[in-house]
Point group: C2
Chain length 347, copies 2
């Protein structure tokens, strides 16, 4: 554990809705993917293998910090790491995402989801965190996949557009759904607690695909578990960020469930998101990552529009509305950081 | 052209927000896909080949009418038919969707998008409509793909999750984007006008993927063209339905652009959709198609919830929030039609 006091860094101040020197900024997926130094380091090996090497993962975590001057680092890892570690049988297929040959379909499959013991099962994650924290002067963000999102990969067998099997299981066998969510919640919670113990300053719950649910489906099939998770983490005092895409109609619920910061995708203008969430929580977002290939004046315009829509609220962490895509030019992200840092409210 | 007067059928009454005997219902993708009699008829041939045979297409259009007792028929066709007909070089790959080997990337590609002459280029569509209208006692809905959605297929080369190339073209070369949209708007408009001339009683614009845009992107890059299209069609007097998924933040714009009926996906509760659109337009939707595999009591509950949220507004056409998926049991759709038809406001 580090003894550095990062409490009054802009990122953590914004998480608490306290005024900071500048609007803090980081990028989802800043570690990995688009960076040439990342591709040089990782070469051909699998992502899961790279994550198991703390020196490699720590280096990948640090790379964007050196290049961009962002206000927070995010651990290089993957949302399926804990599930993979307990031996469910899930892998990451390049160009596809998480896949499992034997999807979760019946009560018997619960046996493949034993409890996570983070120290035993994911020591490399904790070691990576320690190496990073030692080197960093800014907060490190730990993370986990939200229980719905993880469940959807396990049930569908891979990425899905319709989440049909997941919804079928929810509605056909709500008891089994509850048991699956119990198990995933335990795994997510203990992973996050172990990351906090190892030294991360904030955590983000990536319930990336939860926007496939209607509000009533969310209330019944997701809310109780995420609420339990956030309650258990609250005792640590670290800020909890909650993110998914296509969540326009869920923003209020995703805040009420216990988040301190709510991630907003590019579809919802920031002032409208604030109306839905209320002024007491911080927002994170929301530049459309698909425009990062556009000419700079276009990007500049969009960045400034977002900053202006925030209207000086201290609870704003600038970010993308979803992750950096592999073909993004790193120089563009660098310029965005500079632009956000230079912005002053009455500009 | 038929001489039947369908003006006072429940579907058309609801389009005009006039009270009807019962809430009208039809299902997007009701023709084809899930019906065993459809699979028996179409066998192994390509979709585009089936569409070119008016007797086959008319029969596929009629199949769900006989089975379900829905209040409207929808032409069996595909949104890429007009683009395919002008020779752009686009095909439908089973299990994938529309694909093109040579995507639209530069001004030169405009040459592959000549004007549509519906009588010359898509006579089979018009012939199918005439056969159906002859047989039907309910309105037939014609349709076209929205210019953004069609443009995205042409530019991306197939379905996309990020629409990165489409957005890159918009922002990098707005002049070329405008020319592409001009061309697609001409093609869509003349296709719709020809369908109306052949006898359809309403049209639906499927701008299915337009929800990938933020409101400001929609206003700049889509609104002017759809507005022009809807204006040209307005003179015919047939109702215009406007649909896309993930359009929570766009509903108001999709109404203001000139639609008479706005389709709502399952993410937005119907009362909230009405708040955003206002009480003067009709709504269409919005049962989650992914729950059609759930036990009947679950489906019944959801159907009744939607009907109750509508709160007796005469401008409601019951439908799914997106198309029927191939594995749906037709008996479930039949029961939904019965349930919707039996519903009375004070139930």
């Amino acid at each position: 554990m580090t003894s550095k006091d990062l409490t009054n860094t802009p990122f953590l101040q914004a998480c608490r809705c306290e005024p900071a020197d500048h609007v803090p900024v980081w990028f989802m997926r800043q570690a990995g993917r688009s960076l040439p130094e990342y591709r040089a380091l990782r070469k051909e090996g699998s992502i899961l293998d790279a994550i198991k090497k703390p020196d490699v993962s720590a280096e990948i975590t640090m790379q964007p910090i050196r290049r961009y001057g962002v206000d927070a680092a995010i651990l290089y890892s993957d949302i399926i790491v804990p599930i993979h570690a307990v031996g469910f049988g899930v892998d990451i297929q390049p160009g596809v995402g998480p896949v499992t040959e034997n999807p979760f379909r019946s009560t018997g499959d619960l046996q493949r989801l034993r409890e996570l013991d983070p120290i035993q099962d994911t020591p490399y994650v904790l070691e990576t965190i320690k190496i990073c924290v030692e080197q960093l002067d800014i907060p490190l963000i730990g993370f986990a996949g939200g229980p719905f999102t993880i469940a959807s990969y396990l049930i569908e067998g891979g990425p899905s557009r319709t989440y049909q099997e997941t919804k079928r299981l929810m509605f056909e066998n709500p008891e089994l759904w509850a048991k699956l969510m119990d198990r995933l919640t335990q795994i997510c919670t203990s992973s996050l607690l172990s990351q906090i113990d190892a030294g991360v300053s904030a955590v983000q719950l990536f319930d990336s695909w939860v926007g496939a649910l209607s509000p009533s489906q969310y209330i019944r099939f997701v809310f109780p578990w995420v609420e339990k998770m956030f309650k258990e983490i609250s005792s640590t005092g670290v800020p909890k960020i909650h993110f998914g895409v296509v969540t326009g109609e869920l923003l209020q619920l995703m805040s009420e469930v216990g988040a301190d910061v709510v991630g907003v995708d590019w579809r919802v203008p920031l002032d409208l998101a604030r109306d839905r969430i209320g002024g007491e929580k911080a927002l994170q977002g929301n530049l459309d990552p698909a425009i990062l290939g556009a000419p700079w004046p276009v990007i500049q315009d969009e960045v400034l529009t977002i900053l202006k829509l925030n209207d000086g609220h201290p609870g704003h962490i600038f970010n993308l509305g979803h992750g950096v895509t592999p073909n993004v030019n790193p120089e563009v992200l660098e310029r965005i950081v500079q632009l956000v840092h230079q912005f002053r409210v009455n500009q």
